[in-house]
């Protein structure tokens, strides 16, 4: 009897916690979809903000977020993947590589506002890039690096040693074995990690705050040396910084929904890559 009660209590608390988590998600999505969906239209997605941003759409913010994420991908992926290959395939297990790994893990825990200030100091000022799409993209790249390195390393570690040995045994060099056998086997895990890191970067505000995001841009050019608008910052601005707060509230919900959809699409891509690979 006592055991049965204990069992019910334990199950109950597990179930309750799960339900609570799901509940929050449902409430957030319900709120955002309910209030954002009526605003969402092709018009909203494809036009510029007008009338002091109380009307019009969010095209510049979408273009900005997409282009800054692309720069993040282009700048962080090669470095991250190469770094992971070095750590997993070449580096010996000694105090140096262990401390490098620990540093990378710690880097993943650094608050994103610190990345923002670092980006301001290095890219904007020291490298004279100015507040620009490029500086912001590189800053987000730095933020994504530890995630990309860690997930890539995990993907490489899952490739069995026998695959590497098989390639060596037919006369491949270590580089050829990695290029031809290890990377293709790990590619789905690597891509999944990269896409998830990017989806996180796309939703960040703090790192781009000082490095390139702008309040309002009327010609979304995607030029590297120009400031840009971005969905998370636009949302922040509409919700807290605008004087006509009641008027722009629906636009803020529309922006929030768009941002969630963008991030969800990225996550879905990662999910799809994994699924496709597993069924192969």
């Amino acid at each position: 009897m006592k055991r049965k009660l204990q069992f019910i209590a334990e199950w109950g608390s597990l179930l309750l916690s799960t339900a609570a988590v799901c509940c929050f998600l449902v409430v957030i999505l319900w709120d955002i979809i309910g209030k954002g969906l009526p605003v969402l239209s092709w018009e909203f997605l494809s036009s510029l903000p007008t009338d002091g941003m109380t009307k019009g759409g969010i095209l510049p913010a979408i273009v900005g977020t997409v282009s800054v994420t692309l720069i993040t991908a282009i700048s962080a992926t090669p470095f991250g993947v190469c770094c992971a290959i070095y750590l997993n395939e070449y580096a010996q297990d000694n105090w140096l590589t262990r401390s490098i790994r620990a540093s990378i893990r710690n880097l993943a825990g650094v608050p994103s506002i610190i990345y923002g200030l670092f980006g301001l100091a290095i890219f904007v000022q020291a490298l004279q890039l100015g507040t620009s799409l490029l500086a912001a993209g590189l800053t987000l790249g730095l933020l994504s690096l530890p995630y990309i390195i860690t997930t890539t390393e995990e993907a490489l570690r899952r490739v069995p040693a026998s695959t590497r040995e098989a390639a060596l045994a037919v006369g491949a060099t270590q580089l050829e074995s990695i290029r031809d056998m290890v990377l293709p086997s790990a590619i789905s895990g690597i891509l999944t990690g990269v896409v998830l890191a990017l989806s996180r970067a796309a939703g960040e505000t703090a790192p781009i705050l000082f490095t390139g995001v702008a309040f309002y841009i009327n010609n979304p050019s995607g030029a590297l040396n120009q400031e840009f608008m971005a969905l998370p910052y636009h949302l922040y601005m509409l919700s807290t910084q605008h004087q006509a707060i009641a008027e722009v509230r629906p636009l803020a919900y529309g922006t929030a929904l768009t941002l969630i959809i963008v991030v969800f699409l990225l996550n879905f891509t990662a999910f799809y890559i994994r699924y496709k690979h597993r069924s192969k």
Binding site: Q92, D93, P160, S162, T163, E165, A166, A167, L168, A169, V170, G171, A172, T173, Q174, E176, D180, M181, P184, S185, K280
Partner: protein, 253 residues
């Protein structure tokens, strides 16, 4: 034993992983175009010795090797041959079949590609290698199928095909049948006996029966040392050392 040409040899070999000495003063020879079995209880160093011949320990950072490994009197370590050249001349088949995560055809052609075999010769060599490993009839209509969909025995024969495609001089086999059923094992053994006509074969095995069925020479190892080596019949029927006798009669192991 009739005087025969020594193809592969190790002289006074010592090998350490970190502080632990795995191989001690190994002196062993492998006759050309014969099958030599390496037997001994688990952990006696037979796989370690086998892998040393095609320099599989090169990537193990704390492995340290002393002594000489010779292929036709050419040093395998510190001599004129690079690790990749050694592995082209000394092929290896592993305990667990490890086909590349690619198609059947690509598994065999990969070694040819990276070793610079001219493109127009590649197809013919792939077909011939699959025929020689008795796999051709089973796979000729589905060469583009992923190799991992083959059965365990077929995968192992594919690994052998991949190895002989490079025309090595020596083939090392690390318990190639340990994961296979008796029928697949019989096929592989038949194949090994056929391969002997062209290749020098060294096979690590846990099966005394297998050693007696296929090996011309047998080397018995224990705790990192070679206890006894000689013609298979004399190792099994007339061992000179008590340890050998105890092992081959199944009193330990």
């Amino acid at each position: 034993m009739i005087q025969e040409k020594i193809k592969l040899a190790a002289h006074d070999v010592n090998l350490w992983f970190g502080q632990k000495q795995i191989l001690k003063h190994i002196d062993v020879t492998f006759p050309e175009r014969k099958i030599t079995a390496l037997i001994g209880p688990s952990g006696c160093g037979k796989s370690t010795l086998l892998r040393a011949f095609n320099r599989m320990h090169d990537l193990v950072p704390d492995a340290r090797i002393e002594g000489r490994f010779l292929l036709d009197n050419t040093d395998l370590y510190g001599g004129p041959l690079s690790a990749t050249q050694v592995r082209q001349r000394i092929g290896m088949v592993f305990q667990k079949a490890n086909p590349f995560p690619k198609s059947i055809y690509d598994n065999v052609v990969y070694g040819l590609k990276i070793n610079g075999v001219p493109k127009e010769q590649q197809h013919e060599i792939v077909v011939r290698s699959l025929q020689e490993s008795y796999l051709w009839e089973e796979v000729k209509d589905e060469l583009n199928k992923p190799a991992v969909r083959l059965s365990g025995g077929q995968q192992q024969r594919l690994c052998i095909a991949r190895t002989i495609a490079l025309r090595p001089e020596v083939i090392l086999m690390d318990e190639p049948c340990s994961a296979l059923d008796p029928i697949s094992t019989a096929k592989i053994e038949e194949l090994i006996l056929k391969l002997k006509e062209e290749y020098t074969i060294v096979i690590v095995t846990h099966s005394m029966q297998q050693a007696q069925r296929i090996a011309d020479k047998t080397v018995f190892m224990y705790l990192g040392e070679v206890v006894e080596q000689g013609p298979t019949a004399s190792i099994f029927n007339n061992p000179q050392q008590e340890l050998t006798a105890n092992y081959v009669h199944g009193r330990f192991g």
